[in-house]
Amino acid sequence: MSFLSVPLGKLVRRVSRLRGGGSALPGLVVEKIDPGFMRRTLTTLPHGVAVVSGTNGKTTTTKMVVELLESQGLKVFTNRTGSNFTRGVAAALLGEVDWRGRLDADVAVLELDEAHAVHFVNSVPPKYCLLLNVLRDQLDRFGEIDKTAQLLQHIAAKTTGTVVLNREDPRVARIAETLTGQEVRYFGLDDSLLGTFPNDDDMRAAPGSPAPAGLPEKPAADVVLRKVGADTAEFEYDGGTVSTAMKLRGVYNIFNAAAALTLARGICGGAAADTDHGTLLAALSQVAPAFGRGESLTVEGQPLDLVLVKNPSGFRLGLKSFPAGGYATMIAINDNYADGRDMSWLWDVEFDSLRDGGVDQLTGSRAYDMALRLQYDDVRIGAVEPDIAPALAAFIRGAKGQPKRIFCTYTAMLAIRRELSKITTVEVVS
């Protein structure tokens, strides 16, 4: 059947596109009738497959890796549709291969959800993997964060070439100890920036108490993020420090830039000794955030920032990276499956930084959970309206002439973007 699977899958893809259907169905069809399709197509690429996984920042990091590799003249296949499941990858592949199933690319860079990545690497062993972090994200889906770390460990174990690890996340860094044949490269942070990256373990630890057991001694990192300015960043690699302008906003996005740089250097360094660091850095400075990840829109002549918050660490980083002063603030908390159903995580975020200005509007299916959370942190609450459309309209009306910021969970962000495109001209400025 395999000679038929590609034409058939492409057909299903066309039909489901015409019907406006989901992106994963054609992938499902091919997966059923030709389970070897992905492995055959991807493992024959000259540079093989790179998998990007971890709890936070996969989408933006994958985007960065792709743009970095393209700056070096590589043809890159990626799952741009944001469908980060195996079927989504198969569906994306079907869009790119010719009718005989050949993919015109040098390398595949794939963003994969931790749990799905495990299935993927079992059928397609990647040559590279980049493991970002293990944060408390959707614990109701994966159980415990040690379990999530095990999922990432499995991805690393199945990787045939280079494993890129976050040196500052103990659960990720310790994966190195379990590896035997792979080359390990780290990306890291300057000590002065460590404080801006609280992890789940020391979230409530007394100040100055020892960090949970990480690696006995910090290994050297391939790329270290040394400094972050308003729109600049300083990276150290190959024994030198370079400063570059950055379009990305938020410290955590820029740390992920160090991750992307490490992986891109790993991939290029392997084949082309003539890696052009000038163009690599120029490409990095031009990367814009993926949608909703610290993205800035313009609404009625004023900036409106969308900050995606998915877990306590991400929310705290968001509050820290984007100070409240001068901004009208809205928070949108949904509890759909993709957001995580458990609201406990809101109680592990401190909202003191919003006390001065208060929060103008709360919305989402758990708007009242958020209101209750703010009440206990003595933060003034404007209006509460669980229905996102009227809440957003009221927020924009009420904060006329003011820059605005919305902290939102994943499905709330999707709803907000949909509404924004209806009620006003949405112009993407960065």
């Binding site: 408390r136 614990l139 109701d140 159980g143 415990e144 964060i145 040690d146 789940d200 020391d202 979230m203 409530r204 630890a205 007394a206 100040p207 108490s209 509890d335 159903r341 458990d342 609201m343 406990s344 995580w345 809101l346 109680w347 592990d348 299916s365 758990r366 708007a367 009242y368 959970d369 209101a371 209750l372 959370r373 009440q375 206990y376 942190d377 609450i381 509460v384 669980p386």
Partner: protein, 254 residues
């Protein structure tokens, strides 16, 4: 002794009805599912009732504070439970003394299990508990996850979120906190959630538990005040958001 939360220590200021001392058990190793929310709610509601809260942390190796009025403890990952294991055993007698004496306590998930007689893992190894609660827990391959509604006689409808693979059965020495109306609770067979013994409330529910169930928070505070001052004079906390959050939570899918 670890640091106190800033601004909560010192003598009760003028106008306060008195100081209530709350001790968080092992917040460093057992706080994975928003357990801080329970401590924060106690701290704020003590204030809103007109008393002065003093919130202390007890972590492995610390000196246990004297004059404890309320104890609150949370859940943890398996790794966190191993870290506290020896220290908890060393504290067993004094904790048991406080419990028998009527000290109000709230133990959630991991510490609920360890306050029981034992936890038997899937592989058959037995982790001893401290035996304050007549319950036993058996590890399973099944993870019980989702929103939970519990009907209780003492606190009305209790709302929360469960996420555990250990299944707990109650002995004759304790009574259940309530009967599950949505979700699973202690185990997948008897329809009970949590345990009650003297002034201890034990439960699997996160959410965090106390913010959306202020009746339980106020039970702990009232009991502490009555034990310390002979009477409890409640204030008037504004629970409108709690009520609305309860309404919405009760209607969310499992």
């Amino acid at each position: 002794m670890s640091q106190e939360t800033p601004g909560t220590s010192g003598p009760a200021p003028a106008g306060s009805k008195g100081t209530l001392r709350v001790v968080q058990l092992y917040p460093r190793d057992m706080n994975i599912y928003g357990d801080w929310g329970n401590a924060l709610v106690l701290q704020q509601r003590i204030r809103w009732h007109g008393y002065t809260p003093e919130l202390l942390e007890y972590n492995v190796g610390d000196t246990f504070p004297d004059d404890v009025d309320i104890i609150v403890g949370g859940g943890g990952q398996d790794s966190g439970q191993l870290v506290i294991q020896d220290d908890l055993q060393a504290r067993a007698d004094s904790l048991k003394g406080l419990a028998e004496d009527g000290t109000p306590m709230l133990v959630i998930c991991g510490l609920y299990q360890l306050f029981g007689r034992f936890f038997k893992t899937r592989t058959g190894s037995v982790i001893p508990g401290i035996g304050i609660l007549d319950v036993e827990t058996h590890g399973t391959d099944e993870r019980l996850i989702g929103n939970v509604k519990v009907a209780t006689s003492e606190f009305g409808e209790v709302l929360g979120y469960e996420n555990h693979s250990g299944q707990t059965t109650l002995g004759g020495g304790v009574r259940p906190l309530g009967t599950v109306a949505k979700g699973t609770g202690n185990n997948s067979s008897d329809g009970h959630e949590g345990a009650r013994y003297r002034n201890i409330v034990a439960s699997y529910l996160h959410g965090s538990l106390l913010p959306k169930n202020p009746a339980i928070a106020d039970f702990l505070i009232r009991t502490a005040a009555e034990r310390k001052f002979g009477a409890f004079e409640p204030g008037l906390p504004d629970d409108r958001y709690a009520e609305l959050a309860r309404d919405h939570a009760a209607r969310r899918p499992r």
